[in-house]
Symmetry: C2
Subunit: 355 residues, 2 copies
């Protein structure tokens, strides 16, 4: 397909046609997102904690309830519509059910959600970011076992502001070369700041630069976020194909899975993201996955250059790239037979209605 670029084996895709799909969105917050300049996912550093709840309310209700304003990534002159709009359009057009799970968020959406974690993560500079990572992982496993019984294909998205920094944290702690490679929510990716914050967190926990932590969940406890062990748990508890719907954050999930089970079979897993992440010049998702395992990365192109909605053009210059599982939602809707022109028309309709 023209709108789908596949890095790695496409076998995974062939097995998924005409299967029932469930979209699970795991959300979390970390006080790391309050560091000025680290993320564009919110109008101010403090408001980033509202972004997951507002985005999920938008997917479900078409409008956020916890915030007076619609979440838009504010970079440049034109506000870019949140990727939640892409996810909403895809789930609606392909009639894909959505469940959401709280791995640990400071602000909760006004929606039914599955509770996996107790509280938001600390700033990773404390070196004690997710003390309950193991409990979250275990609950995720149980959820994965359950969901495997009620669907054929699980698509797991995430919403975690500053999540590429915590992903860098976990990848770095586990010995992967990820500096300058994780994606970000702004055109200028603040790699130096991210790296500095990660090294500060590792140091606070007593680890020096380059020291590899053998225990994957320990890496999460120190410098991760709650989404990572939650999604790793769901994947490891599942017995069905799983699409990780996200960008470089999902490579941290794969690294943790690999750390917990070095023999884990990644052939039943793929990462599906947007072309805006896959072709991002400020990051390199495939450089990271190749270090972990033979993981297929699928990049979806909603062809926003064809769009009449000015805000969507912001995706083309990297002002916003991915989130709330937008890339995986495009993938899942396409597998269900939805046409990209129809999906884009639906996204445009939603943009006009919502913004």
């Amino acid at each position: 397909m023209n709108n789908m670029k596949c890095y790695g084996s496409s076998k995974f895709i062939d097995n998924l046609k005409n299967k029932n799909t469930l979209f699970l969105c795991v959300f979390a917050t970390t006080k790391t997102s309050n560091i000025p300049g680290i993320t564009g996912a919110g109008a101010t550093p403090e408001l980033t904690e509202y972004t997951p709840a507002a985005d999920l309310e938008l997917v479900m209700y078409g409008t956020p309830k916890c915030l007076p304003e619609i979440p838009q990534t504010i970079v440049g002159e034109e506000p870019a519509p949140t990727p939640a709009v892409i996810t909403k359009a895809c789930l609606e057009i392909a009639d894909i059910p959505l469940m959401i799970a709280d791995a640990g968020a400071g602000v909760k959406p006004d929606l039914p959600f599955i509770k996996l974690g107790e509280k938001p993560a600390e700033d990773i500079r404390t070196g004690n970011s997710v003390p309950d990572a193991r409990e979250i992982f275990e609950k995720g496993k149980i959820l994965g076992e359950t969901l495997s019984k009620i669907t054929d294909h699980l698509v797991i998205g995430e919403s975690t502001p500053a999540g590429t920094t915590t992903a860098l944290g976990v990848l770095t702690a586990l010995g992967y070369d990820a500096n300058m490679k994780v994606s970000g929510s702004m055109p200028e990716n603040p790699h130096d700041l991210k790296q500095e914050v990660v090294l500060e967190g590792l140091k606070a926990a007593g680890y020096s630069k380059g020291e590899v932590i053998e225990d994957a969940l320990r890496a999460v406890e120190i410098v991760g976020d709650p989404m990572i062990p939650a999604v790793a748990g769901v994947v490891m508890g599942s017995s069905i194909p799983v699409t990780l719907a996200g960008g470089t954050q999902m490579t941290a999930v794969c690294a943790v899975i690999r750390g917990i089970d070095p023999d884990f079979d990644f052939s039943n897993i793929c990462i599906a993201t947007t072309i805006f992440v896959a072709e991002d010049e400020t990051s390199d998702i495939n450089h990271i996955t190749h270090q972990i395992a033979d993981i297929t990365v699928i990049a979806m192109d909603p062809e926003f250059e064809k769009s009449s909605v000015a805000g969507l053009k912001c995706y083309l210059d990297g002002s916003v790239k991915e989130g709330v599982g937008a890339g995986g939602a495009l993938f899942a809707a396409t597998l269900k037979g939805a046409d990209m022109d129809d999906i884009r028309a639906m996204i445009e309709d939603l943009c006009k209605k919502i913004f």
Copy 2:
């Protein structure tokens, strides 16, 4: 079938064979359960708040985590194994997936659960028992919509200590004749105490005896429990057949549904309970349902008189009758082709392992 007694139309049953089934257990607590003598669902009045969490942990893990002791209804000489054992056996033997939802409980199970409510209910004598009944109902509706997309048949159990008292409250407030008709967790059903508590709650809210409350969710706010609006919401949000797995508590759910939508079609709904509730001489489930609508009641008989486990015989003298959706679980497993002798053997095995 010998083990299934059907009061009302059996059409509902015929449509369910060979369908995918999901078991949802909604749990809640109310401070009403702390009134001495009102419920047998816990070793002491205070411990009744732990019963839902402990029961659900038992269903999932085979052992409770939140309590050092296994929940057993303590009446007479022989402790009766919690009905959670029946539910566990049925779900395992028929490989039925389980999801659990917190409508508002003081003690939470150490499990992933869907959050529908914020807090446990007050003692109904306050006349202000579930102030957030409407929010719980709305979240339940969304959950019902979602679950309808991922299964063909929803079985909804409940775990709510003192739930027959709150059911009596809601039924009474809505003008149904339910005094002396609700079931209970002990051989001697404390009808007078239940009635007294209900009337005290109605009076505290400014309603005199016999005064009918036109707004069904207002009745829940005053003298209900959080399970009732949660389950009513799930049912009204669903577009698939729903089995209400419980005893007289589920009649209060039906009464609320009827109150919200007088034209609601109950032909896609049934109540499935145990023979111990249906043939209970201290209560009358059919007397209540007949006042509400044409609701099919199915009574399942696990034939514990054939059992070698002494504790299970307690069910025969009414020491314990139903809970955690045991009757509906027996129904769902039977629909999936499980044989009652095999189910009973599994229950006995679990009893020997657990107690």
